[in-house]
Symmetry: C2
Subunit: 196 residues, 2 copies
Amino acid sequence: MPGTRQRRTRGEGERLRAELVAAAIDLLLEPQPLPAPSLRAIARACGVAPSAVYMHFASQDALNYAVITELFGRLRADLDAADPEAASPAERLDALLGAYLTWAENHPGAYQLLFERPDPLDTEGEGPGLDLLDRLARLLPDTDPQARRATALRIWCAVHGVASLRIHKPSAPWAATARSDARALVAGLAGLLADT
Amino acid sequence: MPGTRQRRTRGEGERLRAELVAAAIDLLLEPQPLPAPSLRAIARACGVAPSAVYMHFASQDALNYAVITELFGRLRADLDAADPEAASPAERLDALLGAYLTWAENHPGAYQLLFERPDPLDTEGEGPGLDLLDRLARLLPDTDPQARRATALRIWCAVHGVASLRIHKPSAPWAATARSDARALVAGLAGLLADT
DNA sequence: TGTACATCAGTGAACGCGCGTTCACTGATGTAC
DNA sequence: TGTACATCAGTGAACGCGCGTTCACTGATGTAC
């Protein structure tokens, strides 16, 4: 493989440095997949041989898929538990966002796996994201379903931004709570204030 | 290592399945670090032997650090280039957010490396995030510097949420542009509308 | 009641892979005398 | 002007590691006769 490149002449060795950095940046043009815990690490944590995993899962992908499904189920259960069904839509929305943020804070790695990764291909149309969107949309006052979807997406963006940044930049000067940050962002969206 | 665990009796084999999933979820309690491109992959892309990297970098970490620094410099340059310095603060803020979102869209892997990863330890206090925060804060009308920081953080959350979700959930029903989503979220923040 | 057998829930060794890192080397280019 | 030598910009083979996956096996537990 070396030989593709002609060797630098005497003073130009420094150029490889810049080329290496540039090559790395080129490699970063496509999104980088977040790695899930390794099959061996999971087996180790269970006190079991790696090959034992294959008794229950056809491959690492199948195991990951099961993990994601389970995580999504737990998140959904948490959101259900936090939902004051008798309250007003605005209050329910607020409770939903709070539960979402709490879950993200308590399960950072899991949050990343669900929301900082492309959905597995066979989840198309019913991944964690789209389900959450519907849940949000149902609580919005707009009558136009299209506007509702758009607003729900924006709320999701806001709350995801709060959750994600707090996970990755813990040393930022966070003054308020995650929930109040989310509230401040969501409060301004058209049609939401009118309903409160 | 196996032996820690007693073998299941006859009908209970299915329980390992649940234990494996639970163990994986336990492992996901701590945040998962996004991997940077491997040293060997970078060397390969340059047509150079892996060991040649060590002529310019003491370790993989040093290379990664240089990559992150360079990426951050490029982002900053893009933001500078997009800044209409003669315009009003509100217009400059809008331009800044637009440039940020464009950069994220055009360099998804790089965006992840900068903003979906903890800052390298020796960057504490001047990482991409905090720099960006100052930049935002300077464009805000609030006089109280503390309120300005808080608002800047919220804006960052909003715009990060839009950038990040678009990268990871491309199949969501994105109707508007990233920029208009960010605008809608930011527009409602206290003190911003008054300035426009 | 005893025994042969099937099944279940795994084990353990091995494979090939890519990884970061080391180390001795090589061959062209410049410099000293 | 020629030649010995130092330096520069790398190469190439090797190391030990963790990984996903395979395969032949093992030993306890239940079932059939």
